[in-house]
Structure formats: structure tokens, C-alpha cells
Symmetry: C2
Subunit: 436 residues, 2 copies
């Protein structure tokens, strides 16, 4: 029986557990899944569509485990401030601007940037998460999100008391949707008290969902939590029973040795956001120590307000290199470890290691084709090295999610980017005025 | 009299001393120089060529103050090693591969990447520097280079005794060429003894040229120089009388407070290479302290063997953000300071502050046009913030050097990139074999 799609003659970086690279490879896709992968000579070309990709690199779509896509609306609005005062100003703008429509618009903007850059799955925390899902569906992208928890009235105008109902409603709407990986998203231990953290956990536990929060991002946060609860952030979260293999903690910059050991033992995922940690002066996360301790480390872009873009390739490069300088060890993170952070480990973090994160038979055909007709792409001695240390977002030519092409020749298939940008620019004066 | 060229209706980031931004601006060029710049309404359109650039950003070409362009041939060949053993392996490959022809090929590859990424002037240290100049002329780019000094036989096969003659020959050939900023380039204090450092200095002093060397890149280098000469690197160079406003020191990662003060007092330029310092595990340069002390800091990509690309935008982003995390101060480097590092300060470092580094009347028309029809380019609240924190190499659409267009719509005007890449790829098996 013919396949739906065969991509052939590409160099395939599978990102599988053996880090297999197939120099002249092909992949066959049917019903959104990979049915066969191997040397081009061994994969039949009997398919509804055959893409000849000589000289290109085929690899799994990148998985971004921490983002606030819709915050792209506020990109570059507030600069050169540390996290806490910066957040106060950002929140002022968010309060003034955000409603369901602007959340949808912002999510489209952020997710469009990610998808064009080869990110096929993103874990996103934002107000009105249904709008984030809507935007992802508008684009044809996978998203992990869900109800936010926040002790104060949120930027969506909702009060703390309705967060459980909101989160439940999200699960009701999207549980079982293969394009949505549901969870609950309490903002952080410094903005959500133990009771509401427990409530968020209870909702996601009822549905077998994910649990994601900001944790130990700044020194000030650690001091705050210690003052309030007598424990550092990770120990506080452990004490509350919130840490397990479905937990994704964003940032984790300020950890002591025991906290790293806790994260490893509890099989928690750390979503490392190198660019945001640099720009907001949060510090250098102890990635090498986490890897050595066996912590699952993944990579996020964070939002474009702390970036100021959503470039997973830059985040990958930073994740691969910052720990080398921080430890003065050039092998602090290897090429294979870095690649894993943005592929397989990301999938495992989202509880989807069986269907995402690598190109293997039976997995979803979430995959990207990279051009190598670039000055930075010659010579290539090792395709994995190229992907980690040389490739750029602008190399991404074609993107497939569940076998469907959603980026073609560097352009969105489903959405008109120009019209989207025009809509964002029309809103910009009102955004600027919101903090004036 | 009509101008040669008018670019109009662009947002102009001038990078001048007042950080002027002209929202709807125009620039007129005649004889390779800027004759007028200002609001589009005030600049006449009487020109041989008028480029309408609404929605684009016009700014000076970036100045990269440290590179080894031809080393792009060895991109990704040696990975995950610290500088010293890494350098031994790289040198083995260089010895086996480099001759005048391969230096020209490598320089074309590296400089093509830079020029396509909006770098109009680069300070480059490499074997057979005449070939680097040749490659720059093939592309239409400005370059600062000159004779290398090295105590051991070099990768060009030349022995130390002929370095003075080589360096003199370089000055003879290129002194006075407006496209070439000549100097001498002793490799480093750990590979060039006091006598040859002095000889290199004497040559460049005779011609009023520049003086560039690697300095204080790693802890091991500092220990080595201290053991040999009883002084840390910067004090050693000062003791030898090598430090003044025509000196460019690459890296300067390991400095004590007194050395920073020396660099400021002697008006030395530090060429900061953030990506290389990360990848080779050299460490974090004390950029915030240098800026506070009044040291002129510029930015380099270093070579693609330690990068693994020549992306000045990534280098700029790192230069702007790494010091924030290193100091835990979000204003450790401001947007304006970061932009200056890759424009005006770079020009001043090369003794060309009067003719390069900003868009002002009388200066050379080295300028680039950036697209903003990108998901990462909306909204733009401040064009300078956009340039420093969001812009990417793939935004560079048009590049002009001395008024001549050398990149058009993202493609080299003078050289066929595809043919160049094919030539590099044909050489790759021999390069791989050289260290096998």
C-alpha cells in the first residue's frame, strides 16, 4: 500500500537513543506516523507524495519546553531591568492589553515564530490557554498548556477562586486531543501559595496531566520562599508533594546540591531557559551538575519579552555552550546531550517519549528539513555537530506535524504571516501607551 | 548634482554618538561616501539609483574585530576539547591542508558568511593574509589584517626569521588601500616571545598600523605567562611596551582589576569573543567591569572552529546579555553600549572612527538593510532594541560597502556561493583525513 509521504535522500539525524545518523536516508509516513526509516535505497518510493531532499538534513521537530508565546506582543517593551521590577511593568501592560482576542493574536505571533523556526511542540504557560491551543490549531502545531494558577487576580481578570474550574474546563475541552498535552500551570511558588499549588496539582492528577511552574529562577525568589516557608524552592515544592516525573520546572537557576539530587530522584524535568536567564540577569543554571546527577534537562525559549525572540537554535547553542564556560570544561555538555535536550528529553518531559522526540517507526511524523546551502553549513563533518553548533532558524525550510506540511519553503502553510504582523503592528501603539 | 544612490523611507539606526534613530529616514551617497542623512522628506531623490526601503532598518555594517575567516574550512572538525589540546589538533589539520589556494578558499567561505550576515569590516588573523585580502576583494568587503608572527614554523611553512619581511611585504602591498587596514598580528604571548613581539610591534609602528594579538584567553595561558615571565599577560604586554590605542587584544577573559585599569589607561581595545569563550570553556570575560573602567570593548566572532559559525548577531546578543548574568545586573550592558561595540567602537579600534562605524555625512557608505517582515520583528517599540536583541543574520537583505552593493536580496553580488560551497565540500574528505 502506498505511503502518504516519503522524504528521501536526506541526511537524517534521528535523535534516537543511539544517536543514529543516516547519511542518505528516507522516511515513510502514513496516517501521520512514521512507518519506515532507513537508507534511501531500502525505503520504497510508492507514496502519494515524494520529497527529494538531497543535501538537506531531516530531523525531528524541536521541542520547546517553556514559553509564553503570546507575550511576543510585548517584545522589547521593557528593557534592562532585573526580573522582579521588570515583571511588575510587564504585568501592567498585560493587564491593560490582554483579552481573549489579543491572547489569540499574541499566541499566533509567538507560535508562528516557533513553527517557522522548526519547533513542532511547545509547552506554553499563558492567560486564556484555550486561545493558545486555538492559535496552535490555526498553525498546525502541537502544544502543551492548561489552566494557570495565580493567587492574585490574573491578567485574564479571573480571581484565584475560579482557577480550579478554569483548569477543569481546559481538560474537559482538550483531554484526549493528540495535538494538546494538557496540564496545570501554577505561575510559581512566590505567586501561588501552598493551598493553590495543591489545588493545581489535584486537578492535573485527576486527569493524568502535566504540572509546570517557574522555580528557583532568581536569588530573590529563593530568599523570598525561604523567608516565607523556611525552605529553599525545590525543597518547598518537594515538601508539598509536587515533584514527580510529570513535573516540569522552568529555570531552576538557584539550586544547591541537595536540590539537584531531589530533582534527579523525583525524575523532575528542568526546562532550562538560557537566553532569558542571561537577559534578566537571573544567573547561570547548573546544567552540567544536573546532567551529572541524572536530572532530565530540556530547553525553552521563555517568552519574547525576556529574549527577545523565540529562537530555539540560539537556545540550543546556549544550552550546549554556557555550561562549558561555567565549569571551564569543554565537555560539560556533549553534542549528543545538547541535541537530546531539544528532542527526546523534551518529549519525555511531556510524557510523550513514546510518540514524539525522535524519528523512529511508530512515532508521529513531526519533522523538519534544514537547508545546507548556506555559508555556515560547509563543510559538515558530523551532521549532529552541525545541528547543535552551526544550524540556524533560517535553515528551516519545511516543517511537518503529524505528517502534515505546515511550513513550506520557509513560509507558513495555513496562515498569512504578513497579515498577522500587520495586525500586531496595529496594536503596538496601544501597547506602548499602556505603560506610558 | 545627482547622488549615486539614495536609500529612502527606512528606519535608520545611525549608531552615531547620540544614538540617533531616524524613523522615516534617507541617506544619500556619492563617491562611496554618505553626503546627506536625515528625514526622508528632507533628502532629495535626485540620484542614479533610489532604493525605497519602507519597513526596513538601515544601519551601519557590523564590524567584527576578531576572526580567522579561513578556519571555516575546519568548522566542526574538532569538538568538545578545551583550547590547548583543541589547538594542537586544529594546527595539525591546518599544517596538512593550508597553502595559498586553500587559504583563499577558506577566507572566501568565512568572509562570505560574514558579509551575508551584514559584516562589512572584519579584523582577521590568518596565514597568508594576502589571500584574506584577496578574498575580501573578491567579495567587496573591508578587511583589517597583516603579517602573523609565530616563534615556531607556521602553518604557512614560514619560519620565524622571515616574519618581519613578510609583514613588511604586506604593508608594501596594501598600505594606503582604503579597503585594507594594515597591522601586524603576533599570535599570542604564549607562542611569540618578547623579541618577536617587539619585532612585530616595530614593523607596524614604522607604518602607523594596528597591532593585534590573542591575550589572556584561558587560565592556563595566564599561568604559563606568569611562570615564564613573572607577570600576568596584560602586565607582560605592558612591560614590553606593546599597549596603546592601536592595540587590539582578543579575548581578555582572565584579567585582574589592575590589568583592566591598564587597558583603560593605555586606551587598548578588547575584542570580546563570547561564543568562542563559551564553546572552548575559556570562561566569562569581565565585560561589565571593563566598560565601567572605560575600556573600549568590541566584538568578534572568532573563527568558525570555535563557534561554529560567524554570526555577529549571535555574538552581539551574547555580548549584550552574558555580562548581565555574570554580574546579576540587568543593566550591566545597555542596549546602546552593545550596539556601539559592533559599530562605532569597532571602527575606533581599527583607527577608522572618522570614516566607519556609523551613518553620518562624510563617512563611508558601509551600510546594511534589514528586513522586518519576520515573526521576530513585530512589534518593534525601539529600533535599537530590535537590532540588539531580536535581529538575526537572516534579516540582512542588502549590504553596501563604500556605496557599492555587495549583497542583494540575501545573495552575494560578486561571487557564486553555490560554487564556493561545492569547492569547500570537495576539499572536506582531505581535511577529515588530515587528523585521522
Amino acid at each position: 500500500m502506498p505511503s502518504d509521504l516519503v522524504v528521501t535522500r536526506a541526511t537524517i539525524v534521528t535523535a534516537d537513543a543511539r544517536d543514529s545518523v543516516i547519511p542518505e536516508g528516507a522516511v515513510a509516513v502514513t496516517g501521520g506516523r512514521i512507518t519506515a526509516i532507513g537508507p534511501a535505497a531500502e525505503i520504497g518510493r510508492d507514496a502519494a507524495r515524494v520529497i527529494e531532499a538531497p543535501g538537506m538534513i531531516l530531523m525531528p521537530g524541536l521541542i520547546n519546553t517553556h514559553c509564553h508565546a503570546a507575550d511576543s506582543l510585548f517584545r522589547g517593551l521593557v528593557e534592562d531591568l532585573p526580573l522582579e521590577p521588570w515583571l511588575q511593568t510587564v504585568w501592567k501592560a498585560e493587564r491593560a492589553i490582554l483579552d481573549r482576542a489579543t491572547c489569540r493574536l499574541g499566541a499566533r505571533l509567538g507560535l508562528a515564530e516557533l513553527l517557522l523556526g522548526g519547533v513542532t511542540t511547545v509547552m506554553d504557560m499563558f492567560w486564556h490557554p484555550q486561545e493558545t491551543v486555538g492559535a496552535a490549531k490555526d498553525l498546525g502545531m502541537r502544544v502543551s498548556t492548561g489552566g494557570i494558577f495565580f493567587d492574585f487576580p490574573g491578567m485574564d481578570g479571573h480571581i484565584a477562586e475560579r482557577r480550579v474550574a478554569d483548569a477543569e474546563a481546559f481538560f474537559s475541552e482538550f483531554a484526549g486531543d493528540p495535538m494538546v498535552l494538557c496540564g496545570t500551570f501554577p505561575h510559581g511558588a512566590y505567586t501561588v501559595g501552598p493551598e493553590n499549588l495543591a489545588a493545581a496539582r489535584a486537578v492535573t492528577d485527576r486527569h493524568g496531566g502535566l504540572f509546570c511552574t517557574h522555580a528557583a529562577e532568581t536569588r530573590a525568589e529563593v530568599a523570598d520562599i525561604e523567608t516565607r516557608y523556611g525552605r529553599r524552592v525545590i525543597r518547598h515544592l518537594e515538601h508539598l508533594g509536587l515533584l514527580d516525573e510529570r513535573t516540569v520546572l522552568a529555570h531552576c537557576v538557584w539550586l544547591d546540591d541537595e536540590e539537584i539530587e531531589i530533582l534527579a530522584r523525583r525524575r523532575v524535568t528542568v526546562a532550562h531557559n538560557p537566553m532569558s536567564n542571561l537577559k534578566l540577569a537571573s544567573g547561570f543554571a547548573r546544567i552540567a551538575d544536573m546532567l551529572a546527577a541524572g536530572v532530565r534537562v530540556t530547553v525553552g525559549t521563555d517568552g519574547a519579552i525576556s529574549g527577545n525572540d523565540l529562537d530555539m537554535w540560539m537556545a540550543l547553542r546556549m544550552a550546549a555552550t554556557l555550561p562549558k564556560a561555567a565549569t571551564l570544561r569543554a565537555d560539560a555538555v556533549t553534542t549528543a546531550q545538547a541535541l537530546r535536550m531539544v528532542t527526546r528529553a523534551g518529549a519525555e518531559a511531556l510524557g510523550a517519549g513514546d510518540r514524539l522526540g525522535s524519528l523512529e517507526p511508530g512515532k508521529q511524523a513531526d519533522m523538519i528539513l534544514l537547508s545546507t546551502d548556506r555559508a555556515h553549513a560547509a563543510p559538515i563533518f558530523d551532521p549532529m555537530t552541525h545541528v547543535v553548533y552551526s544550524a540556524a532558524k533560517s535553515d528551516v525550510r519545511h516543517v511537518f506535524v503529524a505528517g502534515e506540511q505546515v511550513v513550506r519553503d520557509g513560509e507558513l502553510v495555513r496562515l498569512d504571516l504578513g497579515a498577522l504582523l500587520a495586525e500586531v503592528r496595529a496594536l503596538a501603539p496601544r501597547i506602548a501607551a499602556s505603560i506610558a
